[in-house]
Symmetry: C2
Subunit: 264 residues, 2 copies
Amino acid sequence: VVTTDTLTDQVDFQLGQCRPCRAGRKALAVNLSDLAAMAAQPLAAFVSLVIPRDAHESLPRELFDGIVALAEQFRIAIAGGDTNSWNGPLVISVTALGTTTERGPLRRNGARPGDAILATGTFGGSILGHHFDFTPRVAEALQLHQRYELHAGIDVSDGLALDLGHVCQESGCGALVQLDQVPLAEAAYQLSQTSGRSPLDHALGDGEDFELLLAVPPAEAAAILRDQPIGVPVTRIGQFIDQPGLWSLADGMRKPLPATGYQH
Amino acid sequence: VVTTDTLTDQVDFQLGQCRPCRAGRKALAVNLSDLAAMAAQPLAAFVSLVIPRDAHESLPRELFDGIVALAEQFRIAIAGGDTNSWNGPLVISVTALGTTTERGPLRRNGARPGDAILATGTFGGSILGHHFDFTPRVAEALQLHQRYELHAGIDVSDGLALDLGHVCQESGCGALVQLDQVPLAEAAYQLSQTSGRSPLDHALGDGEDFELLLAVPPAEAAAILRDQPIGVPVTRIGQFIDQPGLWSLADGMRKPLPATGYQH
């Protein structure tokens, strides 16, 4: 499997406000998260840089420090790339290759009505640091995919609601989210204190959580929730349903759930 | 084999002065040329775009028209990608996958002293149009690699002299170029009339010819020159030598040859 993701200054990071190694790390990490979403083992990555001509000469080295440290952590090769300079802002484009296991790739289109929606970790407030520091759920996806029957998966980059909607669209079904079950990150509470939005709103729409959403048949889901096998909490946040679209369940009321998240 | 190349507005093309489909075509074509340099059969390409927010809404479509037309010509899939927008100029990043034949990849490091330097096509003046319209020498490389013993190869993107220097460095030898044998493009003569530089200077240093330079043992080189098997002229422009560095031969005099070309 192949994935590619391009990050740009002022959109995915603010180069003036973060150490370049963090931007480099993020550029590789988002691609590893995409491989995790397919339950693929990362093999190698290819890095194209477009460097501003007026950047400090140490910039490429600092970017690569962040990239290489993460590559070593995940035991993958930086196997090639391309370096350019120009009079524009920094662009980092990464393409990553992975191999699937004998179970094949996890896809977005396999969710079936009745499947539980399982989520790893917590959601919301990623802008407070998590959008740089997250760990791609590669090991977690491989473990779950090997031990349990998973029907579909995605990593949450754009937003929990929006990315869940992608699974629904690809699978031809809907989703019902139990709002009181959505695991909220500490950062979601923190951000809520100044944003005027609830922690739940942040969890549903902030994006860049880089956690996994999985469609899992009920018996398997029960086993995962009981076993908690991956060192990161797994939570059931609802189920896939026949009725198309995104729906929320709170206080016994079913309402349409807006597909909040980052629109490219 | 995997190759990746990123093209940017104002460096690799001037978006205000060319139809976007030509920029799109070029972004894929340079990658196919890289696969040709390895004598690899292209399989699939992945295209990441960063689109200026103020661009006409037709820009992505027009870019893809150029990309897809070339992909169809070479029978490869555009198998994925990433689309972003920002307040900067257009960036097109392409990663291409290819497979080598049973002969394995053609590399840069196999040239040996005594090998002939063979070149496909003509050189110089690419800025007059060839840098958009060139045909990646994929079929030509595959044919030559299959029928003859080739020791090394490269495609000329930065400049004939500079790229020949890359082969020398990787192979641990030098090269002696017979200046009167370098095949000059019509565009090299044309450009020479206003540039104040000779057609040969243009041929040696303009770059973006996207022709092949090959290191070929003498007997095989003679056969290729006799057979002319690929529908594009193949010319012997010199030979690889023991003495490191780039050298020119003209009127019986051996002189250092500057490694002219585009410095990234």
